[in-house]
């Protein structure tokens, strides 16, 4: 049953209904709700583990299992899960495993280039509202088709990074050398095709690795491969329907959409696997300028993130083109069930006193966390008056009249700002500048217009803030 249609009642009827509280919930209904939200797992219900309950347990497991299988790549401490998805559209529930991004290296790259790339994967990190946006894996390609070279590069990369690996070679003899070089590290094998599937399946089973089934632009053969590999004994499968850029983008968007739609809405188990996309096909274009290729690759990768891709291989190692991509991935894999707003009120940062400055912002979660992280990272001491804007950003709230002189005056009053600080001075966001006169009138406080962006707060304090008691 699609996750969006599963109700707690459906689950509850199979639970023991004893309200034993062993799971930590007050009753079985609450536990059922947690299960449906995938915030709890079945084995937390101890009575269900009774051997006599195996049938019920299994029934529940079938009800709760994701239609897109979860596949793990890599070793215990450095593994990455992909797939495990329940819905096609994020508003139907939420997405769970953000698209894994692997950076390309090949066995004919110079040592220096390989080192730069491994370092890039290891170190790329952007701090965004309290989270670290990072890269996930390294994909190693055999461009020489020489088994010895593939073995050497695989060994080398494994020394340079702890991130999980994707080994890419279509010749089983080459693949085997690569797998032997990192035995036990559980890389993802790329790929089983209609020509080599049996040898690749044997390798996947022998080395206990997940395996990509690849059939570019041919979904029937892709399904046939997945079905056959499964019968052959390979459980952890990833699907590659082929990635195209230029006029082929239409085909690619269609294929990814068809596969995910069928896996989730038609519960086609042969297609219920994570999807692999390859934005680096943008590098096959004729243009000379590598900046254009980086740009195109970022666009294609973003299309793929939007259309259900679970793991992708990227060639670019440029921050400017990858930053929007890792932002987009974070955004779309944010749980839409989580609230948009933080609580309104007055927050203290650092060693505040009753003479510390007061900044004003709205209660839109992103706005608030951005302001908070700017203040914290600059180690400033100040108060922040968080006004209830019904979860809108400053700009939208001003335009939508959720942040007005009246709502601000109300907040100053109800949160007793006058008791918290001795001065009567409010710094408002630059994007609310047009309200400054009205706020002054409504609150009786003197109002200064702060920076347009909260990254300017430290500089603003240094240059403009002069506390006085009136």
């Amino acid at each position: 049953m699609p996750a969006k249609e599963l109700s707690p009642i459906e689950i509850y009827k199979y639970l023991p209904k004893t309200n034993c509280k062993e799971c930590g919930e007050t009753n079985c209904m609450a536990f059922a709700a947690k299960l449906v939200n995938r915030e709890a797992t079945l084995q937390e219900c101890l009575p269900l583990l009774d051997p006599k309950q195996t049938e019920t347990f299994t029934r529940l497991w079938v009800l709760l299992k994701p239609p897109v299988k979860a596949v793990e790549i890599g070793l215990e401490n450095n593994k990455r899960k992909i797939g495990g998805e329940y819905v096609q559209y994020r508003h139907e529930f939420t997405y769970f495993s953000p698209t894994a991004i692997a950076i390309d290296v090949s066995d004919e790259m110079s040592d220096e280039e390989v080192e730069i790339r491994a370092k890039f994967v290891n170190e790329l990190n952007y701090q965004y509202i309290g989270m670290n946006l990072t890269l996930d894996m390294v994909a190693i390609r055999s461009t020489s088709k020489d088994p010895a070279k593939f073995e050497a590069i695989t060994k080398k990369v494994a020394q340079l990074t702890n991130k999980p690996l994707i080994l890419c070679a279509l010749e089983p003899a080459v693949m085997e050398q690569g797998l032997a070089a990192v035995e036990g590290k559980r890389p993802l094998i790329y790929a089983a095709t209609k020509n080599n599937w049996k040898e690749m399946a044997d390798l996947a089973l022998m080395y206990k690795c997940p395996l990509v089934a690849s059939s570019p632009q041919d979904l029937n053969t892709l399904k046939s491969l997945a079905k056959t590999l499964k019968e052959y004994g390979v459980d952890d499968i990833v699907l590659d329907p082929g990635t195209l850029w230029d006029a082929g983008t239409s085909t690619t968007v269609n294929n990814f959409t068809i596969l995910r739609d069928l896996a989730i809405n038609e519960e086609d188990e042969d297609l219920g696997y994570p999807l692999l996309g390859v934005p680096m096909v943008a590098w096959a274009a004729k243009e000379e300028d590598h900046l254009v290729k980086e740009w195109n690759e970022a666009m294609l990768a973003s299309v793929l993130v939007t259309r259900y891709t679970d793991i992708m291989i990227i060639h670019s190692v440029s921050g400017w083109s990858l930053l929007p991509l890792i932002f987009l991935r974070q955004n779309l894999y944010t749980d839409p069930r989580k609230p948009v707003a933080v609580e309104a009120g007055v927050r203290a940062f650092g060693d505040v006193t009753d003479m510390s400055p007061v900044f004003l912002t709205t209660n839109f979660a992103l706005t608030y966390y951005t302001v908070a992280s700017d203040i914290e990272s600059a180690k400033l001491s100040c108060h922040v008056l968080v006004v209830d804007s019904e979860g809108m950003s400053v700009e939208s709230a001003v335009a939508g009249r959720k942040l007005t002189a009246d709502t601000i005056a109300e907040a100053v009053k109800s949160f007793k700002l006058g008791d918290i600080v001795k001065h009567r001075h409010l710094v408002i966001p630059g994007r609310a500048a047009r309200l400054s006169g009205e706020i002054q009138e409504a609150t009786g406080w003197s109002v200064s217009v702060g920076p347009m962006d909260s990254s300017g707060i430290p500089k603003y304090l240094e240059e403009k803030w002069k506390p006085t008691v009136e």
Binding site: D50, P66, A226, D235, G242, T249, T251, W320
Partner: protein, 402 residues
């Protein structure tokens, strides 16, 4: 409900419970056992034992050749259809534009080309402001530096140099808190822009519900029949007056709400009292990548799917102010070397913001940076190329020497 496996012969692995503990996934192995053969040991400490089959595993025969399979395309019936809206009017249609543009008309989700191609290309319109002091990112401003003092020149540059299909003329100076320019002055500016370019245009206000209505009314009357896109009508405006003014003068409304599907419905419903459906485009707010794009994306996706599934209050073409991407600091801020050049990072930010919303079905884009507009035009052409599922030449990327 779909319990497809027969319970009496469920294949279970040894570590069923351990696997379930992790992510509710069972690892299937070559073992067929029945429940009678299962034995689960619960140790006193509550540690989970593993089921042990008494019987020897029965090895399946491995396939020797590919098992045939066929993918049936997920063709679905959609009871709703997005209304078609015509923007701009030619001389024969009662206006003065060189051509008019139709948007909307979709009957399947965005770019489900395997079922049906979209009937019309989404439109890219360039933003033009009537106030030279408008705050623009450096990367944007350098393209318009010479024309910011004159909206007509600015519009002309967008059309002639950057192939703008439409112009969004935003009136900021009318804001009582800026210059409080009169409606009559605004009309003059619109007339100049209509003279300077022959593409359809949209008229944007300052966000003050009273002043906007006054200015829109003056412009609407002076340009009767031009099918201007009036940006926008909001819930806190006088909806009756706004809608009648648009209908009487044959223009089109952008119904603007802030990221709320129910508010979008409510506004459309109120407009229906006075305005035909084919004179309404909806805008549910565009937030920048990293600063609420996920909300913008999901509200648009929900609106479009609801419209297609038959919701009669949401089946309108959608508009996106993708220029809002520049509100993200990462679009314009100087950052460490690792993230440079910002001259590319900024327009890519606008591009990815717009492209993500394109994939929800947006029909009308308001954009700013010429490179971003060009990139979105390119991806639209790619997506509308007519290529269906399972066509195209494979790229041999595994052995690609880059």
């Amino acid at each position: 409900m779909a319990i497809k496996k027969k319970n009496e012969s469920l294949p279970l692995s040894f570590d069923i419970l351990e696997a379930l503990a992790k992510y509710q996934e069972i690892e299937l192995s070559d073992v067929d056992i029945s429940f009678e053969e299962l034995e689960i040991n619960l140790t006193p400490g509550g540690v989970i034992g593993v089921p042990r089959p008494r019987a020897q595993p029965i090895l399946k025969t491995k396939p020797l050749s590919l098992i045939e399979a066929k993918v049936d395309l997920p063709i679905k019936e959609y009871s709703g259809k997005i209304v078609e809206v015509k923007l701009g009017a030619t001389r024969t249609e009662g206006g003065t534009r060189n051509k008019s543009i139709v948007i909307g008309g979709e009957s399947v989700p965005a770019y489900y080309n395997f079922q049906q191609m979209p009937p019309h290309k989404p439109v890219i319109a360039f933003d033009v402001f009537d106030w030279p002091k408008v705050s623009l990112a450096k990367a944007v401003k350098e393209h318009f530096r010479d024309v910011v003092h004159d909206p007509a020149e600015w519009a002309k540059l967008c059309v002639e140099k950057y192939n703008a299909e439409m112009i969004n003329l935003h009136f900021l100076t009318i804001d009582p808190l800026i210059e409080d320019t009169s409606p009559r002055t605004a009309v003059k500016v619109v007339e100049n822009v209509l003279q300077a370019v022959d593409v359809p245009i949209a008229i944007g206000g300052c966000g003050d519900p009273k002043k906007d209505l006054a200015v829109f009314t003056a412009i609407a009357e002076a340009t009767k029949g031009e099918r201007l896109l009036i940006n926008s009508v909001t819930l806190d405006m006088d909806i009756e007056k706004s809608a009648k003014m648009i209908k009487d003068n044959d223009h089109v409304a952008i119904a603007f709400t802030s990221m709320d599907v129910n508010k979008a419905r409510e506004l459309n419903r109120k407009l229906y009292d006075y305005l035909p459906k084919n004179q309404i485009v909806m805008d549910t707010t565009t937030a920048a990548l990293g600063y609420g794009l996920d909300y913008a994306f999901t509200v648009m996706e929900r609106c479009r799917l609801a419209g297609l599934k038959g919701d009669p209050e949401l089946n309108h073409p959608m508009s996106s102010g993708s220029t809002n991407a520049w509100a993200a600091r990462e679009a314009w801020m100087k950052m460490s070397d690792q993230w440079t050049p910002r001259e590319l990072r900024g327009p890519l930010w606008e591009t990815i913001t717009a492209q993500t919303l394109l994939l929800t079905g947006v029909d009308y884009f308001m954009m700013m940076h010429p490179a971003a507009a060009n990139a979105i035009r390119t991806i639209i052409n790619h997506l509308m190329s007519g290529k269906n599922a399972s066509t195209g030449d494979t790229v041999e990327w595994v052995s690609l020497k880059v």
